[in-house]
């Protein structure tokens, strides 16, 4: 049944820190690696070595240039994967029952054996979290690495989503948002976690921690350490270096 559960016991999801993400795309690659070799059909690539390579990804990192409240500009890397919405519109539109939201932990999944590949759920998702695999013709989406987080055959520290495990800057945090004492819930509260596109009323679980504002160094009257050092560079070169300088100027 593609009706949504009224309430889920847990609300598993990610808190993504936009302040620490450096846009290295390690999460993209590790997500692709894990989800290609494990649950469901592989994430295929089309024309991988040709003119127009495309592929299925469950996690993509966008990069934006943003003017902050302090009128300076910031480059913000913005990883985007399924937000495991409470009112997931992708689930209710599914005609076959392939899409569902788990009552026990709130993870939104696709039963690939029942997916007819109509693509309606991808249309219904505001966030572009679902992609139809061009090879298998079924809908692929983030499973929150359900085959890692409950997997007792792997070391305990590995029992979190591949993207979280791979992140070199700890920008991705995994946990239960229904529990106010959880790491992610606390992070979200203390850093004013953002809900993406709240006006579409999908009630996403994942939260984005906005980049912190730069501290204003000018008004702090800190001693200028760098400038004197820069001034020390001799302006009139002598000897061999002077000769090299002249030769290079002439070339």
């Amino acid at each position: 049944m593609t009706s949504l559960p009224k309430n889920t016991v847990k609300k598993l999801g990610l808190a993504i820190d936009l302040d620490t993400c450096v846009g290295c795309h390690a999460c993209v690659i590790s997500c692709k690696e894990w989800n290609t070799s494990n649950y469901g059909s592989p994430l295929s690539d089309m024309d991988a070595y040709g003119e127009n390579p495309t592929g299925t990804f469950l996690n993509r990192v966008h990069t934006y240039e943003v003017e902050t409240e302090n009128n300076d500009y910031k480059v913000v890397h913005f990883p985007k994967s399924c937000l495991h919405c409470e009112d997931a519109p992708c689930v209710t539109v599914c005609p076959t029952g392939a899409s569902y939201k788990r009552e026990e932990d709130g993870i939104v999944l696709v039963n690939e054996d029942a997916c007819i590949g109509c693509g309606l759920c991808a249309w219904a998702c505001p966030y572009g979290a679902r992609e139809m695999d061009a090879d298998a013709g079924v809908m692929k989406k983030c499973t929150l690495c359900i085959d890692r987080i409950y997997n007792e055959n792997i070391p305990e520290e590995d029992r979190q989503p591949a993207c979280v495990r791979a992140c070199p800057t700890n920008a991705r945090h995994f946990g239960d948002f229904a529990d106010p004492s959880s790491h992610v819930a606390k992070l979200s509260t203390s850093r004013c976690g953002i809900e993406l596109m709240p006006e579409l009323e999908a009630k996403p679980v994942n939260r984005y921690l906005p980049p912190r504002l730069k501290t204003d160094q000018g008004s702090n009257n800190l001693p200028d350490i760098l400038t004197p050092m820069i001034n020390k560079v001799p302006k009139n070169l002598k000897g061999f270096l002077s000769w090299v300088d002249k030769v290079l100027e002439k070339i």
Binding site: F57, Y64, I116, A124, P126, L200
Partner: protein, 294 residues
């Protein structure tokens, strides 16, 4: 959105077929111009071709029967179930009236109501999408019901009625385009999508996630050549509404209401509807494009 041929044919033909059946089941057609042995099978054929066309849009059509299971929650499934039930009910009515000359009014009434419900649920597949503000309007199902039933109304052999119906269709179409153009601005923007910037601050995409294209861009971020939009709207409006309306008016004065002429009106209307449906998909902006700054 990508204007997929299979979906354009599906929505236009199944709508038109069920629209024809709507009038046929009410026994309102002119049987001298449109003998029931011809017009009933034609209507069934058009609807079924439309419905089958939708399966060409599927990645795994061999599992299509599963689409009949979620009729309580999914409009697509509701539409599939209703379409089959409507065809079945209409078929029984058709057999009784053609073979046994039994015209059961209440059965026809139910079948006609089901035709309207089927067209309505087809429209709701698109109308329900909050992510596509241009579709997410109350007028969308009204327009779909008009597309379906107005063209078929010529089998009533009532030129004046069809004339007015075609004009109503044209007016609602214009109004929908006008309203639709305002919809996206009222919905989301890159600021609500990313939550990064406040109203007067600058924000733009610096780098897309990948250098190439992807499923999302191909399926949902279709950039139509804006310079042709208005030309296509005019062409579609003329074929969809104005030309058929004028021709219908001609049938009342010159008494030329014979089969071929009326069929030509239908075909002109259908071509206009096809162009309009192409625009319906092509013009529709999906909010995921905001993440790509489009």
């Amino acid at each position: 959105m990508k204007p997929a041929t299979s979906l354009i044919i599906f929505t236009v033909l199944s709508g038109f077929g069920f629209g024809l059946l709507f009038w046929l089941n009410l026994n309102l057609y002119s049987s001298t111009n449109f003998p029931d042995v011809i017009i009933f099978p034609t209507a069934f054929l058009i609807s079924i071709v439309g419905l089958i066309s939708s399966s060409f849009h599927l990645g795994n059509p061999q599992r299509a029967l599963l689409a009949f299971t979620q009729w309580r929650s999914s409009w697509l499934s509701t539409e599939a179930v209703l379409a089959v039930l409507t065809l079945f009910t209409s078929f029984i009515y058709a057999v009784l009236s053609i073979v046994f000359k039994l015209y059961i009014f209440w059965l026809g009434l139910i079948a006609s109501g089901m035709c309207l419900l089927t067209i309505f649920s087809t429209a709701m597949i698109y109308t329900q999408m909050k992510t596509v503000p241009r579709w997410n309007m109350k007028v969308t199902p009204v327009l779909f019901l008009l597309y379906g039933t107005v063209g078929g109304s010529i089998i009533l052999n009532n030129g004046l009625l069809s004339f007015f119906l075609f004009l109503i269709l044209g007016s609602v179409q214009i109004w929908t385009w006008k309203m639709g153009d305002q919809q996206f601005k009222r919905s989301s923007n890159i600021r609500t999508a990313t939550g990064l910037s406040t109203k007067d601050k600058y924000i733009r995409m610096l780098e897309p996630p990948h250098t190439g294209s992807n499923y999302l861009l191909k399926e949902m971020v279709n950039i139509v050549a804006q310079k042709h939009i208005y030309k296509l709207r005019w062409i579609s409006l003329c074929l969809l509404s104005l030309l058929p309306a004028i021709l219908c008016l001609l049938t009342t004065t010159a008494n030329i209401n014979y089969f071929t002429f009326l069929a030509v009106i239908c075909v002109i209307n259908l071509i206009g509807t096809l162009i309009s449906r192409w625009l319906f998909f092509s013009e529709a902006e999906h909010v995921v494009g905001l993440y790509y700054d489009r």
